[in-house]
Amino acid sequence: MAEIPEASRDNQNPRFLGAAMSTPDLESWFIREVLPLEAALMQFLRHNWRNKSEIADLRQEVYTRICEAARKEIPHPPAKPFVFAIARNLLADRIRRNQIVSIEAVADLEALDVAVDQPGPDRNTIARDQLRRVQAALDRLPPRAREAVVLKKIEGLSVKEIAQRMGISENTVDAHLTAGVRALADMLYGDIADLRGAP
């Protein structure tokens, strides 16, 4: 899991100091506490932001701000109020910066407090649920991508073996795996409207 090697921890880039902190802790916290909130976060962003083409960028910006804030000290659980406070601030900043004072947006931002206070499903439910979602997500991948992911992850074949088995080039296997993992992440963490290729 600790994908960040020593080399990146003392990188020279002054704009990015995050990796200087205990990144493995931050990574496991991010995966354990933040990713399970993604579906709710996406719903919130979609509900409060009219330009749907910007949603993916907004999510990325929320994640960036979360890590910048959490790298000094990982917030005490639950992460939900923390994550949504950041999301709300981001939208407020965007509205100010764009000088679009949308009454709707402001109204919805105020309504957010209510949504955050509602207890989410407890982590046990999420974890159990997720096992089922992994299965469902695999089932719903495009057939060729699913085949490649299953051969790689479940049967443990090499890319070369998969290419032979499927009668395609190794580059095409890579393309299937790339598409497969992105779709899996959307189905596991995102909400239903994130699904690639969904109407």
Binding site: E3, A7, Q60, I154, T178, L188
Partner: protein, 322 residues
């Protein structure tokens, strides 16, 4: 494409390069580090995909163990050890997250897609054959042998052990093996259990275990719903026909077209639709491969004289009207 999507696409390329290929050079690594270090957007995009990639480690392998006899045995064994280790680690980290989850974390999920058929052999020698579109969970690490059939159909050939009974849970019912081969088909709200050999008991999950519950003997077919269990007896030949999927075929004898079509539709993406009630009542016999939709359609057209038309991915069967 938004910048977030471009970053995610790049993160996915790195993930596949690093995690799916065996050759990730030191130079690749330093380029990857540099890319990660450029921004939190890169880092979080990679973390997110990497977590999704790791999630699939929790799905069990459907490969029957005996296949290990071939040349790749050593390598596959090694890989399955890694896989088991991965499942175990996930179970442990989930245990840390909440103790209540621990008991449910020690399960393996087995699944087949449309038209799929797989055999799982448990360590005690019990064989489970999964039919098309089936999902079941097997509890591991407990002395009690417990399987939950979430959906679909499975054939159980149980190695009996009176000290550790083998139970199948599905649709609110519990089937307990008393030395058995049996078939379980789970539809929403309806469970069908066909006893092939030996004895088994079926009861509601929320009832205490009774020594004299509904005992099933060979040939018995139990239909269980949310509030009832009824048992009837079927001739051996009918049971054998019902088990023909284990050999990849469907056997029909004097079967209505409606039933035959429903069977085919369980196995194939290409669905068959019967357009009128008269056609649905016609009867058909024969043996077909589960994927043999085209051949079935041909027989329906020629032998029954019905009209068969292809519309998009559906086959429409109707009585001639013109």
């Amino acid at each position: 494409m938004s910048s977030a999507e471009q970053i995610e696409a790049r993160a996915a390329e790195w993930l596949v390069k690093k995690r799916a290929h065996e050759s990730f050079s030191a130079e690749d690594q330093s380029q990857f580090d540099a890319w990660l270090a450029e921004s939190w957007a890169h880092t979080t995009a990679y973390w997110r995909l990497s977590a999704a990639w790791d999630c699939t480690d929790r799905i069990g392998t459907l490969r029957p163990p005996r296949r290990n006899e071939d040349a790749g045995a050593a390598r596959r064994n090694w890989r399955s050890t890694v896989r088991i280790a991965a499942v175990f680690i996930v179970a442990l980290s989930l245990a840390a997250a909440g103790s209540r989850y621990f008991s449910t974390a020690k399960e393996k999920i087995y699944t087949t897609g449309l038209g799929g058929r797989e055999v799982v052999t448990l360590t005690d020698g019990t064989r489970i054959e999964l039919n098309t579109n089936t999902t079941l969970r097997i509890a591991t690490g407990t002395p009690d042998r417990r399987v939950t059939l979430e959906k679909g159909e499975a054939y159980f050939d149980v190695v009996h052990n009176a000290a550790h009974p083998f139970t199948v849970l599905s649709e609110g019912h519990r089937i307990t093996d008393l030395g058995t081969k049996f078939l379980v088909k789970s539809d929403p709200g309806r469970l069908k259990v066909s006893l092939v050999e030996g004895l088994a008991r079926i009861e509601f999950v929320n009832e205490p275990v009774k020594a004299h519950g509904n005992l099933l003997k060979p040939g018995d077919v139990a239909i269980a719903t949310a509030d009832s269990i009824s048992v009837s007896h079927a001739p051996t030949r009918k049971l054998n026909d019902e088990l023909a999927w284990r050999h990849g075929v469907l056997i029909f004898r004097d079967t209505t077209l409606a039933e035959a079509v429903a069977e085919f539709n369980r196995y194939n993406d290409q669905k068959i639709v019967i357009a009128d009630a008269d056609a649905a009542k016609r009867k058909i016999g024969g043996t077909f491969t589960t994927s043999g939709v085209e051949r079935f359609a041909e027989v329906v057209r020629i032998a029954l004289g019905l009209d068969v038309r292809q519309r998009q991915n559906e086959l429409f069967i109707s009585t001639h009207t013109e």
